[in-house]
């Protein structure tokens, strides 16, 4: 699975992930505190500048991540166009685009390993509640490892179906797919136990 981080190395890659995260939280909160169109226009312009600084490749890949917002922007514009308060609609749209772009900026300029470091730090207080941060990290790694495995399992099943029928498999492979996945999970659990299990997993 490919992470969403940027193909271009930027200066922000070297900033500590925790600082970026704190900065993002504060600015996002700020966006929701005011409805001044001028304020939102300035912020949006600043965000666009941040995206443009590392070059064309970075800018375009940033734009690609915003595509999902398009239908909502159309709805907002139609809605406020019809009710004759386009300025208000534009404010909401600008805030939406700025908020999502700023968060995407963090995702694009932070490596998965740096993000994991933040997770480790944030999970520390959870140790009091009995959660071993190591178990959390292992489960995240398991998710990342199992997702492509599940996808290829699904592909194999639908190929096997197509080899025997000229119709599409559709929902008929869902049950065998889930059963196979559960059996895989049982094997992984057994393997983990055979290697010493999670109870005594070393903490730090």
């Amino acid at each position: 699975m490919i992470s969403l981080s940027s193909p271009v190395e930027t200066r922000a890659h070297r900033w500590p992930a925790g600082v970026k995260l704190a900065l993002l939280s504060v600015t996002t909160l700020g966006l929701f505190l005011t409805n001044n169109p001028l304020f939102h226009a300035v912020i949006l312009l600043a965000v666009i500048t941040l995206y443009a600084l590392p070059g064309k490749v970075f800018f375009l890949s940033g734009c690609r991540h915003l595509r999902i917002l398009a239908p909502f922007i159309v709805i907002l514009m139609l809605w406020h166009g019809l009710s004759d308060d386009l300025a208000y609609g534009a404010t909401i749209t600008m805030r939406l685009v700025s908020a999502v772009s700023m968060a995407n900026l963090l995702t694009m300029t932070t490596r998965l390993t740096d993000m994991m470091e933040v997770v480790r730090f944030l999970a520390r207080p959870l140790r009091r509640l009995g959660l071993n941060p190591r178990v959390l990290e292992l489960s995240m790694a398991l998710v990342i490892r199992m997702t492509p495995t599940l996808v290829s399992r699904g592909k194999t099943l639908s190929q096997a179906w197509r080899a025997r029928s000229n119709r599409r498999s559709g929902w008929r492979i869902i049950l065998p797919f889930t059963v196979l996945a559960l059996d895989d999970a049982d094997h992984v659990a057994q393997a983990l136990r055979a290697r010493g299990g999670l109870i005594d997993m070393e903490d730090e």
Partner: protein, 182 residues
């Protein structure tokens, strides 16, 4: 312990894998993702607590920047986007679905899991989703509800799929349906 952790990770991965399947278009042109079937299954299969944990794990992996949401999306931006409320609602949806399946032992599992998926995977999830939309788009709760109403028929179909599937898996692998394991 190992089985619980691996199952939680498996269902988080299952929801991620479902996000990679192509989008299905309903008769009237509304795109649906099968990802929410995974959320319902998570609750009905794992039970309340583990189901919610699996969804929290999913959101954590998503926040770390992996493209696990339908359409190759991910990252922290998802939370402040229009549909962010729905994502926040996933752990709660799985929790409520799981709680109903755990406690209500009367009718057949297929019926219980279907109704549980409707309550958790539709009602609870939409409450969070609609509140999220009304904050981001600055619309009233009623207006936001109108915007998402078109997706309800598809979600009812998904709840029936999740319920039927849970019962079928219970027949094939009873020990794997942790919500009914005791």
């Amino acid at each position: 312990m190992e089985k619980n952790v691996v199952y939680i990770a498996l269902f988080a991965a299952l929801v991620a894998a479902l996000g990679l399947t192509p989008r299905i278009y309903l008769g009237f042109g509304v795109p649906i993702t099968v990802q929410t079937v995974g959320v319902m299954l998570c609750g009905s299969m794992l039970g309340a607590k583990r189901g919610a944990l699996a969804m929290l794990l999913f959101l954590l992996v998503m926040s770390a920047g992996l493209p696990v949401v339908a359409g190759g999306l991910g990252g922290l931006g998802m939370f402040v986007s229009v549909t962010g409320g729905f994502l926040v609602g996933w752990p709660f949806a799985a929790f409520v679905t799981g709680l109903i399946v755990e406690k209500w032992r009367g009718p057949s599992l297929a019926v219980v899991a279907t109704i549980a998926s409707m309550v958790g995977g539709i009602l609870v999830m939409y409450v969070f989703g609609v509140i999220g939309m009304s904050i981001v788009l600055e619309k009233t709760l009623l207006e936001s509800t109108l915007l998402v109403l078109a997706f309800v028929p598809g979600d009812i179909v998904k709840a029936v799929v999740a319920g039927t599937l849970t019962a079928a898996i219970y027949k094939a692998r009873p020990a794997s349906v942790l919500s009914r394991a005791n």
